[in-house]
Symmetry: C2
Subunit: 436 residues, 2 copies
Amino acid sequence: MVSGALPGFRDFYPAELAERTHIFATWREVAHRFGFVEYDGPPLEPLELYTKKSGDEIVGQLYNFVDKGDRAIALRPEMTPTLARMVAARANALRKPVRWFSIPQLFRYERAQRGRLREHFQLNMDIVGESDVTADAELLAAAIEIMRLLGLGPDDVRARVSDRRILHGYLLAAGVPDAAFGGVLAVVDKIDRQPRDVSEEKLAALGLGASAVRAVMDVPEQTSLASIQALNVQGGEAAVAEFSRFAEYVEALGGGEYLQPDLSIVRGLAYYTGIVFELFDAKGELRAICGGGRYDNLLKQSGGPDLPALGFGMGDVVLGELLRARTLMPAPAAGLDVWVAFGESAGVSDAMRVSSRLRARGLSVEYALGGQQLSRQLKAAAAAGAREAVILGAPDVAPDEATVRRLDDGHERRVRLDEWIDEAGPAASARSPTHS
Amino acid sequence: MVSGALPGFRDFYPAELAERTHIFATWREVAHRFGFVEYDGPPLEPLELYTKKSGDEIVGQLYNFVDKGDRAIALRPEMTPTLARMVAARANALRKPVRWFSIPQLFRYERAQRGRLREHFQLNMDIVGESDVTADAELLAAAIEIMRLLGLGPDDVRARVSDRRILHGYLLAAGVPDAAFGGVLAVVDKIDRQPRDVSEEKLAALGLGASAVRAVMDVPEQTSLASIQALNVQGGEAAVAEFSRFAEYVEALGGGEYLQPDLSIVRGLAYYTGIVFELFDAKGELRAICGGGRYDNLLKQSGGPDLPALGFGMGDVVLGELLRARTLMPAPAAGLDVWVAFGESAGVSDAMRVSSRLRARGLSVEYALGGQQLSRQLKAAAAAGAREAVILGAPDVAPDEATVRRLDDGHERRVRLDEWIDEAGPAASARSPTHS
């Protein structure tokens, strides 16, 4: 007997699966409200789909192997290359802008770290074919709406937003040479997490003068629209104007309270071309909930169509941690509407017939599969979390009648069985109001 | 650019994904009605999880490899070993009978055949911990209820049912030696698909005498409860009585019209211990839609708990083929409730504010992300399949009013914007009535 799942992989028992379903249903509901349609690709793809985009060094982090047909393949570590491949194949036929979402399971073979998972599910929402900044606002507003629908307010989650082009203009104006750019961004990325003098030494080592070092060290201070608008940004003026429009639009879309301009947000260098954003828990205790931005060159670089694009990924793991920490993860719905029990003058076939009629009305119904005493059946009904039990064939009950017992308070009433069945409906609470 | 998915793998564009969602939603709805709860396991498992159950010969059909931690692993080809592993780990704590379902994607590396897929999704429904035949009836009734909810009637789908123990008793009574059993079942499995004389020759080669050969050739004639009840079944009398009860229960559960006793149904030899069943399209043009039965020894053989169990697998591929052939696959719902358009005296920010309010009411809403003429916006609304367009800031419309246009017939009406928003609700048709 194999005793457990592979290291880094999760078993989803019903309680955990219900939590996953809560997150997925919310993702689908918000995607639906924003007019996004769902797609999916294969969990296995040709290895070169990833090496073409990310270089051979990515192979060290992949579940990759050679299949029995001598193909180099990999379990998908991210969804964007699949999206690029699928959009490219039908680029002309698709209505623009494309609003697509997917909830792939993604895989990374990372060196074993305690508690670190090797798989997660990730909502991917992407807009392809729209260069205007309205699309950037629309996309972030969708990510924020997910937070709101999950019960996470602006005190729980912040949407930190930057623009690659503004940062570039600011660093240029501060005298940072283009060649030092990559190195400087790596320092900015860690600037909050390492001692100030370590950052300053690294910047000096990159050839920056004292005033340029000061300018870089000031990047994390740029956390308001006003301060960003006041910056000297060589060649980045249009980007600042666009960023201001972006903030106005996010406000119009209802996400303003969550918005936190922050020029120090650094994401994949070779990847993003404009506005980038991350959603974080406001206490800063967890890793990012969500990250994304505009990647206008990526589809073309991948050999696909030359279409502007933007998107984000939001994983289920950090989001689940935050929901549990804020006690916002709902308890799994008991689900069962009715338990059909049978006493002396009825049999399991009677219970089956009643169950079948109730189920045809959309109710969730169980009955005792093996023969059991009525008292044991009612115990089983309670253990199953049923809302009600209907008791057939109890003593002193007419053949066309039954007893209905509410299982929370034990209240019983006599009903005409046919009438009661015809009026039975599923508990409102057992139905999630989500689009699936 | 990698031009397509790997051979045998599917891309799910939105139209195909909507079909998959229709099938999944129906699976989940019926599982819910029957009191089954969802679980999931990892798509990667230790290779030995499969070789322990099926022997080393299964490796030739698997996507298996050695990971970077030197573990022999495989992409799951079936769900039952994962189920056994998960139930075993919590066998004492779980309420019995366990009613669990899952919708895993499964993988098989089969020799390339035209059009043959290497992945599919498969509903798995299992009951663990109940030996009574009521459980067998309950399980088959659930499979049948899925057919019914998808629109497939008894003229479309037949549930062919047999019992391993009855067939055994019948063959024993006919003088088939125990040693020839496996070979005889292999012949029975193909008896409808190969010439009569080929079957007869194979049976003779297995050492069967003329009367035993005749008895085996008669197996496919046993297609009614009455004929099975009339058989001489050495040691199988209790199984026949149970089979009769089973048929009565399936009838009570509403599945009687679909039921087709058929002693020639042969499924995995080492696996099933009692009643076995398969769902087939009534025309016999497709492969099986569903197969399952009772496997009382499997959990224990896998090193797990000694619990009786039964289950079935139902794939998405053949089912999808049948639904399309019967034109029962619904067209993807347009989904979009409202397109928010804006004329001369309104801007995209106004459209965003209205969109945000409509979305908060659960509606699916789009607007033109880039600036566009009103006429182009309305064309886009129609192309998007929106139900209605609300037009803000058109000439001669008061600031607190708007024009609402039905997009199917072009009917327009003037509305007070705030009132209209407060009363807006999602289209009933855009909501699937399913539990998710």
